[in-house]
Amino acid sequence: MTDTEKAPATAVESPRQPDPTLAVQTFGLSKIFGNLVAVDGINLGIKKGELFALLGPNGAGKTTTISMLCCLLKPTGGTASIMGHDITREPYEVKKLIGVSPQETTLSEHLNPLENLELIANLHGISSAKAKKWSKLMLETMGLEERARDQVRKFSGGMKRRLSIAMALIHDPQVLVLDEPTLGLDPQARRTVWEYVARLKGEKTILLTTHYMEEADSLADRIGIIDGGKVVALGSSFDLKTSGLDKHTMIIKGWNITQNAVMNLQRRYSDIKIEGGTILITDRHLEFSDVVSRLHSEGISLRSVYFKEPTLEDVFIRITGKELRE
């Protein structure tokens, strides 16, 4: 993917022909609750084996979209297909192909992790013997084997989340849906979950929703930014950050920054801010060598000079005019 697609702003009825290269495809998918348009004609295609992140603030329509794809909510308009099966016409076929880890860590609290895993495996039609074997293996993979006989109500948030992902994977689904997999976790537990998800990359098609930019940035092959029920931008993290970026910011730290040095820079660059011993220059045509030579000519000894990396937060603000709060 080289170019960033700007998704259509309104619901567009695209031809409902499933593309065999796509694992998940939505066709003008919409959901309206009373007067609230929660999802507004989303057209998306997620490639097989891709890790796709739907990034947006709370209430953007991420969970509603996921709920429709998992056949938990009926769309008000449009439809979607999972591995070629229509979510409205073939919900039970779709449910066989997907594994879902919901936003809330929903477990059977008085059951132990093995029992939780075996139950979900059995409900997916896996025989008891296989379910037992797979559950043990899955617990080992998730590093929970030592707590196999403890009731899950005694587990920490991070352990519950790992078990929740294991439950979504127990029947070896083709499409894994992770709704806010690290919501409410401390940074260390969050990193552990990321490691597990990263291991699955390429093996499964993964649809992940998150409002953590860092999560989408570090894990996803492609990101769809969702706001007000619409996908407002789509592309890889790099594409999103660089496309439409018309100005760059350079951060300069020096030991002896003088007024003269700043004035020298101002002759060429108009947007200059000074914060402590740091100069920030924002301009359409920033030249590294030019900035360095101007400062050297003023006798400034530099500590560091670098371009500020654009973040997904910047992208979000640029596209929606709002901040994406964590």
């Binding site: 039970y92 449910k95 919901p102 059977s108 008085h110 059951l111 039609g125």
Partner: protein
């Protein structure tokens, strides 16, 4: 046999949860002990443990309403039901898995309290099978009502206290602790709409006075109607919540 897996899960969730067990057994047991002890003196012959035994059993079956609400509304509220609904399990398998479990609890309660009544010295003169049928129909009606409430409830915290209040009011006015003949006629009319006064009356007639089925036929038909109606409505509305 997905329904069986759900049945086993519900069973484990309940017997490993001290609070759930407390509601199901300890609460009616407490009433039995308190009333049994307070009536063990030289009370009037018409108001003794014999009179109270059917009422106490019906009370335990009334508690099946909040029990069903607790189980279903909790799974619904916490999103556990939604998680289960992402598997290829059909709505009827869910309903069977939950109702079978609640039915088992009800049967266990009936047996437990009937044995307890015997231990406490209740004179059982009538047909045990017939009285069991009365209690079973009452339990099914309670489960149906519980499902109905859970279908419309948004959360366990909202549904459970309201259901407890309703259950306790119903217990008070259904002749569990004293005969409804003491109550004003308009209260009797309201109370008779619900199955519990009929259950207490029929169980009392069968257990203590030893009457046959002909004498309690109308009560049994009424209870059967309630069991069928409440279950049908409960299943209909609960299945509807699963197909949102």
């Amino acid at each position: 046999m997905r329904f069986w897996q759900l049945f086993v899960r519900n069973l484990k969730e309940t017997y490993r949860d001290p609070l759930a067990l407390g509601f199901l057994l300890a609460f009616p047991l407490l009433f039995t002990v308190v009333f049994g002890a307070s009536l063990s003196g030289n009370g009037t012959p018409s108001y003794n443990v014999d009179f109270l035994a059917p009422g106490i059993i019906v009370l335990s079956l009334l508690i099946m309403i909040p029990t069903a609400v607790r189980l279903l509304a909790r799974d619904k509220e916490k999103g556990y039901l939604a998680r289960l609904l992402t598997t290829p399990t059909r709505p009827w398998e869910f309903i069977l898995g939950y109702t079978l479990f609640m039915l088992l609890v009800a049967v266990a309660q009936i047996i437990f309290f009937m044995v307890l009544a015997q231990i406490l010295g209740v004179h059982i003169n009538g047909n045990i099978g017939l009285v069991f049928l009365v209690f079973l129909l009452t339990a099914i009606a309670s489960i149906g009502m519980g499902m109905l409430v859970a279908s419309f409830s948004k959360s366990k915290n909202q549904a459970e206290p309201l259901t407890w209040l309703f259950t306790m009011l119903l217990a008070w006015f259904s002749g569990v602790w004293f005969s409804i003949s003491f109550m004003p006629r308009y209260i009797q009319t309201i109370v008779n709409i619900f199955p519990y006064a009929h259950a207490v009356s029929a169980a009392h007639e069968i257990l203590i006075r030893g009457v046959d089925i002909a004498a309690v036929q109308s009560d049994i038909l009424f209870l059967g109607g309630w069991a069928a109606g409440a279950t049908a409505l409960g299943i209909f509305f609960f299945a509807r919540t699963m197909r949102s």
